[in-house]
């Protein structure tokens, strides 16, 4: 026992030491790798995923970075992120709307090409794609908001009059013109980026953002009275009395508002 037992226990101790050392090394390496993986999950706002891409966290587990979607895109919209580039996780496909937008192919070849389902084969109609949401981010520079009729983003939209409309309103600056505000309706916007690509300004006033950045959300219990009323075809609450709106009124003058008179006059008349 003592003759054979001792070397064996030394062996076992060495084995345990080696294993512990290996496990320790792997824990360190694994932590670094996990850190890298966490880091890679931050998708920059300009980088849009191809149509049908699963939500980002699922996408990163599904995409094998093969580049088949990139190859089958007839407009060279898609690119694979390169290592060290300030972009999405290395090797994953994305596009930048201002550079080359998605042309919304009817047959969606990128989705067709994807072998893994990272681009959801359930997407059959390209109008259902949600790559992001367009937002008119700069009303101060948008020509239409300045009172001109640029309309370019509106006219190029593949889902025109549904995803984007021109909403007229009074131009208070000139006093007798209209402003046609390009207005995106997120329910119909595919995030293709054609509007952003086409905006005539040096930097687009309309931009496609990842939907998480573009949109807020409404609390679940909020109801819109007018929608409820329309659905019901009658007032939501029975027997509500519609009280007359009260206007500012003065005895003797009726509802006419008197001309403005300052309550206090500066001594000396004032200019």
């Amino acid at each position: 026992m003592s003759a054979t037992g001792k070397p064996r226990s030394v062996d076992r101790r060495r084995f345990l030491m080696d294993t512990a050392r290996m496990a320790g090394g792997c824990a360190v390496a694994g932590t670094l790798l996990a850190y890298l993986a966490r880091d890679a999950r931050a998708l920059p706002a300009e980088a849009l995923r191809p149509p049908g891409a699963l939500p980002e966290s699922d996408f990163l587990s599904a995409c094998i970075r093969c580049g088949l979607c990139v190859r089958d895109c007839p407009y060279d919209t898609l690119k694979l992120a390169e290592l060290g580039e300030d972009g999405p996780a290395t090797g994953t496909p994305y596009f930048t709307a201002r550079t080359v937008p998605c042309e919304m192919c009817d047959d969606i070849p990128c989705v067709e090409a994807c072998p893994t389902g990272a681009l959801d084969p359930g997407l059959k109609n390209i109008d259902d794609a949600r790559m992001g949401t367009a937002v008119l981010v700069d009303q101060e520079n948008c020509l239409n908001f300045l009172g001109l009729r640029c309309d370019v983003c509106y006219r190029v939209c593949p889902v025109i009059d549904e995803a984007i409309t021109l909403e007229p309103s009074h131009n208070t600056r000139s006093g007798h013109h209209a402003i046609f505000s390009p207005t995106v309706h997120a329910d119909h916007c595919t995030g293709c980026g054609v509007c952003e690509r086409s905006c005539v300004l040096p930097d687009a006033a309309i931009k496609v953002l990842p939907t998480r950045l573009a949109r807020g959300s409404s609390a679940e219990h909020y109801l819109k009275g007018w929608e409820e009323k329309e659905r019901k075809g009658a007032p939501v609450v029975e027997g509500i009395i519609d009280l007359p709106d009260r206007m500012p009124e003065m005895p003797g003058v009726g509802s006419e508002v008197p001309a403005f008179e300052p309550a206090f006059k500066l001594p000396g008349g004032g200019q």
Binding site: D18, A40, S61, R65, C66, L68, L83, T90, P115
Partner: protein, 303 residues
Amino acid sequence: MSAKTRLPVGLEAIQHKGWINAHRFLLLRRLSQAFFLLLFLLGPWFGIWWVVGTLAGSRTFEVLPLTDPLVLAQSIVAGHLPEVTALIGAVIVLAVYAVIGGRVYCSWVCPINPITDAAHWLHERLGLQKGWQPKRMTRFWILGTVLLVSAITGTVAWELINPITMLHRGLIFGMGFVWALVVAIFLFDLVVSRRGWCSHICPVGAFYSLVGTKSVLRVSAVNRVDCDDCMDCYAVCPENHVISPALKGKDGETPLILSPDCTNCGRCIDVCSVDVFAFTHRYDNRAKKTVSTAVDAATEQAA
């Protein structure tokens, strides 16, 4: 004997068989590596789209899907159930390597192999120290770690640093900073650890080694009786622990190199001046019993 061991590795084989025959499998291997790379480059370079995609996933002649099984395995443990196309692709790749030897991928296809081979060549040229030699199990531990990290983070974790697919993708789609990664591996193999990356670290090699555990195509030391202990095969083999059991086996023990670490590169066949090694299948246990007359003559000449 001592005079002989001082001969540079491979010189004897060149003298006996000629340069071409002493580098046959090395040349074939380089051709094969270039061929597989070129297949993928035909499209982007010449517009011939026979093979589309990368080593991670590809489509050949519009019908044949191929998928890197380790990448797909990470995707699956990360929680994604891939579509059938990718699964079929991975099964085909697994089946092929299970038959011809998992690590055939390493020596005949992988684009990193020429780089680590070059590092090793320079390492020998400069007569550098072995350096850090991690335990043989290290790469399997790393493989396990990679799968674990994939599962925990829900990402295809190894693809964040995998130099193989990065280099391959880099050549086909655009390099970015991949060259820095390649230089790092070259330097690692050159000055930190002799044959460090491919023989000790790379989890892809480890994975393919598991795939080829029962592979049919094998190298056998059929003529081991002729071995004159020049040790050249040990010098060229990237996994030289696989040689001894076959070459030094007693009568009745198999001359087959059965370790799945063997990359089937065939360098041992090339470098042996007395043709001890040959490719065969794993059910071929024959070992020659008598010393060849040619060898007798050769040794007499030498003496």
